[in-house]
């Protein structure tokens, strides 16, 4: 169904928050689940994590980094306009333990996707330590919201303009070690998730990673989203998107997410030629 945009807010350069009307999804979603949208009639279908919801307005929140054609189409829409299609909630909810000291790690737009998981951990009575990474101070997002649900929130910036100077995995290594945490969740760019998994392999930590492979239908119908976890092929859209970070074949996933890089360039050039590009 199409979904009306109620609110739009720029969180950082290229990162936009949208609240959209979606009463059924608002009632049913759990942390870790996602939706698929098609901003315009002829857009691609893209998955987006559900970040938050509001019962009063019967809306859900998504945070979009405008990096490609479809995400740009989405953030170009204004409140009052509608996303052409929105379907969900998709995927399995994140596994949330109780009464533990838990690690939450995210980088880039993943920080927004981490928010509902951090909240769910907190609500389940865990002590939540969040480590978040951004390119630079101006790229830090949802600081206030995270602070409200985390016992500790640490930032790392690539250029050192705020908090720790370096990336989140370096920050993690500076703050913690084996047995610091019982469980954790990591969301972000693949290299960061991979590095987090590598760094904590011997820590006795159960680390969940929210994967973001290429998806089409998001209903388990095409297999395009397949990932290898512990030597087994899984469909991220229905079996995931959260999997044991220590078992995910991140190298394969990296290759598969790059499968259309060259063709995406062709599409962008095409749009420039006919004047659609920005």
């Amino acid at each position: 169904m199409s979904a009306r945009i109620l609110n739009k807010r720029q969180l950082a350069p290229e990162i936009t928050l949208l609240d959209v009307e979606a009463p059924r999804i608002q009632r049913r979603w759990r942390a870790g689940q996602f939706i698929i949208i098609r901003p315009l009639e002829h857009s691609e279908r893209i998955p987006l994590t559900i970040v938050d919801s509001c019962a009063e307005r019967q809306s859900i929140t998504m945070v979009i980094q405008a990096v490609g054609k479809t995400t740009r189409e989405a953030v170009a829409l204004e409140p009052g306009e509608s996303l052409c299609d929105l379907v969900g909630p998709l995927g399995e909810p994140a596994e949330i333990c109780t009464g533990e000291r838990v690690l939450c790690m995210a980088g880039g737009v993943g920080v927004a996707e981490l928010l509902p998981v951090a909240r769910a951990y907190k609500e389940a009575g865990n002590t939540v330590v969040a480590l978040c990474g951004a390119r630079s101070d101006s790229y830090r997002i949802l600081d206030e919201e995270l602070r409200a649900c985390c016992d500790e929130l640490h930032w790392a910036t690539d250029d050192g303009t705020f908090g720790f100077h370096g990336n989140v995995v370096q920050l993690l290594l500076s703050l913690a070690g084996p047995r610091s945490f019982a469980e954790g969740h990591v969301i972000g760019p693949i290299p960061m998730m991979k590095a987090a998994a590598e760094a904590t392999r011997e820590w006795g930590l159960k680390l969940h990673a929210s994967l973001n492979p290429i998806m089409i239908d998001g209903t388990g119908m095409c297999g395009g989203c397949r990932v290898t976890v512990g030597g087994q092929v899984r469909f991220a859209c229905v079996d995931g998107p959260c999997f044991d970070a220590h078992k995910v074949d991140f190298d394969e996933m990296t290759r598969r997410t790059r499968a259309y890089r060259d063709l995406e360039q062709i599409a962008l050039q095409h749009d420039c030629r006919i004047g659609l590009g920005r």
Binding site: V87, T219, G220
Partner: protein, 478 residues
Amino acid sequence: MAAEPPRYKPNPKLPRQALPLLDPDKRRRAADEVALGFSAEQAQAEAMRCLQCRKPVCVEACPLHIDIKRFISRIALGDWQGAHDVISEQSPFPGVCGRVCQHELFCENACVVGKKWDPVAIGSLERFAADHARLRMKELADSYPKPTGKKVALVGSGPASLIAAYDLVRLNYRVTVFEALHQLGGVMAYGIPNFRLPREILHEEIARLQNMGVEFVPDFIVGRTATLEDLFEEGYEAVFIGTGAGLPYLMGIPGENLIGVYTANEFLTRVNLMEAYKFPESPTPVRVGRHTIVVGGGNSAMDAARWAVRLGSDVTILYRRGRAELKARLEEIDHAEEEGVRFEFLAAPVALHGDENGYVREMECIRMELGEPDDSGRRAPVPIPGSEFRIPAETVIAAIGQAPNPTLQKATPQLMTKRGKIVINEWGETSLPHVFAGGDVVRGGSTVILAMKDGRAAARAIHEALSRERQPQEEVKA
């Protein structure tokens, strides 16, 4: 209905009219429909071949029991509209079925003319009647009063649900069809290529239901967006599950996750539903290299192979059995060959090999021979040791079958299933009261017409269940 005597003399000895086809060279670069349809003269000539049997076995053989004899007589008399009206008594989808139904297995297989000569081209005549009624579709639908009765929910918008919708709305039920994808039609929208089933035809025939008062809700996954229980709470009094068999089987060989390796579902969804054949005008790409190998022998294999040809690839279909065992529609196999698709029979993939960047480059295969008959009664293919060989492949498409879509079942554990398929009784009812099912989700991969047969049977059972005088349920107060 009383049989009308034909007012012309049938002539079964006339040769069966050949369906005009788009030139194979023209097909290779376009998504245009391949089968062009009969001209009026051809249709009339072909209709004259029908014997107008006293006991029309073709009607019996048609799973929808379309009055084939009567609609053909209308065509013979030049009354196209009348022919369409006759078909409409049973089916609102002659444009679809005239193109994709396996007539050779049903009506044309039963056709008495076929005992001695070629059977009457019933499928092409059905299509002819449909193509000449396209302009009347709106008017036809509007002649029905809008439904006011009880609410029935149909899950999935494939052929099973669509025919159930047609039958139920005519019985005055308020019908809602919930579809997971953004487009309606099930496999007919995401699987079957436009060059076999132009989307205007599908959309028009679905729009006819819409105009009759059937409500369609896309982007709605039952089991996720709402549960089965939610639907009953929202006032639906019966639910039909026609969610199809969309879960693709994987080959389970090394290298399957290399770039350029697709399931037929992904490949076809990209090309049909997301219109990747128009890339970069349409934003979803598909990767088709110089050599494409399609693994499998059913309709999906033919469709994927024929699309790959149109996207400029050199295409081979690799099938572990022989030609006689191919499961696709005969016409599709012929058309694939005309378009230059090569067949490699009695061979199966063993492994895929890629380059350092993870792109598939080669398929390693093994020769097979046919051994003893298996469960399906067909001779089982057995690998011949030491017969491995390699072929270049930059695109590999696995079209080796599908299992039922599991989403609804997962969210409804009380629903009885057997190896993923929903179990139903002889009336099409599942283990849950007032929940019915049919089509591929019950049968596994099947055909459009059998899905429709199930949808029709379920509609009848739903009508019986809901029109039965039921004891009003006393609400127990605590």
